[in-house]
């Protein structure tokens, strides 16, 4: 663990300018991922810029066209329990509350959640080759213990998964990430925010160095009537997902008008397949339709020695979560399967 300097940024401009005063400056929000990684000697910041005290940046507010804007600096707990989110985007509340613990959600911020690193064991093990940690060194998971690893979108360079729960719901909701850099602002569609590993697994996302996430926009459609988040893991709570599913639907009687399905725990980013969602349009909202959509979503999935079970698990989770979305109150706390 290295030593570092610390300052509190007074506003966004100050935060961005401070980054340039040190070679290895880094923002710190909740610190729940950054401090952990620093303790594991995986990050070596020479300056931490505290972005928790930026005035005017802790709100959730309604925006034009009926959507809602979440500050990036608000905690995960304040977001999940906010009346606007509980009412209009319960899928997001549910996904956030399925992640980590009450203490961590009180610290973790929305911006930090998007940027959390993988939980691949080899990424944390300094003695093991890992292309994400040390590009060009190889991937230990490929032929190692790969129980928690990817079944979709992986490359021969990296089979790590992105571990966020919140982001699975944000993907399903078609969120937009607003960022500011020295050259101004830009908006990144959620599907373009995280990336697949390809040849550069060291890059988790498309945020550029020198950019700060300021907020996340949720479009008007929140699927508040028919939604469900299901998280399957090795223990009931306080564990990362082996497979998770966020489902939102708009129904007309028992016919699906629109469906969104995003998978977590299976790839280097939240996983959606537009073809499966359009296939569901006009179909009856039943086991049969969800099973067909699940087959489409998992087509081309590739298991490794210890994680092939995830393919069948993901299919069953999609079906079960579709059925749970018909009756959101059937869901238990912590996004468990209903009885």
């Amino acid at each position: 663990m290295n030593n570092f300097d610390y300052i509190r940024a007074s506003d966004i401009d100050d935060a961005l300018a401070s980054l340039n005063t040190h070679d290895n400056g880094s923002f710190i929000a909740g610190g729940t991922n950054l401090i952990d990684l620093w303790k594991y000697n995986l990050l070596h910041p020479d300056l931490l810029i505290d972005i928790n005290h930026l005035p005017g940046h802790h709100a959730i507010e309604e925006i034009e066209e009926g959507g809602v804007r979440l500050s990036a600096f608000l905690t995960n707990a304040d977001t999940a329990y906010h009346p606007l989110i509980e009412e209009r985007y319960p899928l997001l509340s549910k996904a956030i509350l399925a992640g980590a613990s009450a203490q961590i959600r009180n610290m973790a911020t929305n911006g930090g959640n998007l940027l959390q690193r993988t939980r691949c064991y080899y990424f944390y093990d300094p003695d093991a080759p890992c292309n994400k940690r040390n590009p060009g060194s190889g991937c230990s998971a490929l032929n190692g213990y790969n129980r928690i690893h990817a079944i979709l979108g992986a490359s021969e360079n990296c089979i790590a998964v992105f571990p966020s729960d919140m982001c699975v719901a944000l993907a399903a909701l078609d969120a937009v990430v607003n960022v500011t850099g020295i050259n101004g602002e830009r908006n990144i569609r959620f599907e373009d925010f995280h990336r697949l590993p390809g040849d550069t697994p060291e890059l988790d996302n498309n945020l550029k160095r020198g950019e700060i996430i300021t907020s996340i926009d949720l479009p008007a459609k929140g699927f508040a009537k028919n939604y469900s988040y299901l998280k399957l893991r090795d223990r009931h709570s306080y564990a990362f997902a082996l497979v998770s599913v966020a489902t939102g639907m708009e129904l007309d009687g028992d016919i699906i008008k629109e469906a969104r399905i995003a998978l977590g725990g299976v790839a280097h980013r939240p996983w959606r397949l537009k073809e499966a969602e359009s296939f569901l349009q006009g179909k009856r909202a039943d086991e049969h339709s969800f099973a067909a959509a699940a087959d489409m979503m998992l087509e081309g999935a590739k298991g490794f020695k210890y994680n092939s079970f995830k393919i069948e698990l993901a299919k069953k989770a999609i079906v079960r979560n579709g059925l749970m979305a018909l009756d959101p109150h059937s869901q238990l706390p912590g996004a468990q399967p209903s009885a």
Binding site: D36, N106, G334
Partner: protein, 156 residues
């Protein structure tokens, strides 16, 4: 070194700390408040739980400098001078510990859980206490202890 002030258990402290000192180490090593425990030091066990401005957080993943000016409550500060906090009494009544190492974190976490008011059922209490592990397996007693305080309205 950076000079910071922390209000801990309603005492004002001014200390000099290096930026990389965790709130946990500042409490234990600088302020000698050793009630708060270090289990994993990586956010995985909840032993280091304290209240910051009345909300439960993990002091091992918090830098002391980030809390300059904040109000912190530790296990040493949750009860009055001579009586136990209702949760402390209930933990005794329900055998809610064996070795006791996780207990300060469990109790601080439970104080916050009851204040938050989000857990209505036993299932929800279990879910919202899942950030505190007990290696001795006293979990049933812990949940019983919290449920008693909650149901009898002994503390909000």
């Amino acid at each position: 070194m950076i000079g910071i002030s922390l209000n801990v258990n309603q005492h004002q402290y001014h200390i000099q700390v290096s930026p990389w000192v965790s709130l946990l180490d500042a409490l234990r090593d600088h302020l000698k408040l050793t009630g708060t425990k270090k289990g994993c030091d990586h956010g995985q066990c909840g032993a280091c739980t304290v209240l910051c401005d009345d909300r439960r957080i993990l002091s091992c993943l918090t830098l002391a400098v980030m809390k300059n000016g904040a109000n912190i409550t530790t296990i040493e500060g949750i009860s009055g001078e001579n009586e136990l906090h209702p949760l402390q009494q209930s933990f005794i009544d329900h055998d809610a510990f064996q070795c006791g190492y996780c207990t300060p974190g469990q109790i601080c976490s439970a104080v916050s859980l009851l204040k938050e008011g989000k857990a209505k059922t036993r299932e929800e209490v279990k879910e919202l206490m899942s950030g505190n592990l007990c290696r001795c397996g006293a979990n049933m007693g812990i949940i019983d202890a919290i449920m008693e305080v909650k149901e009898r309205g002994l503390y909000e």
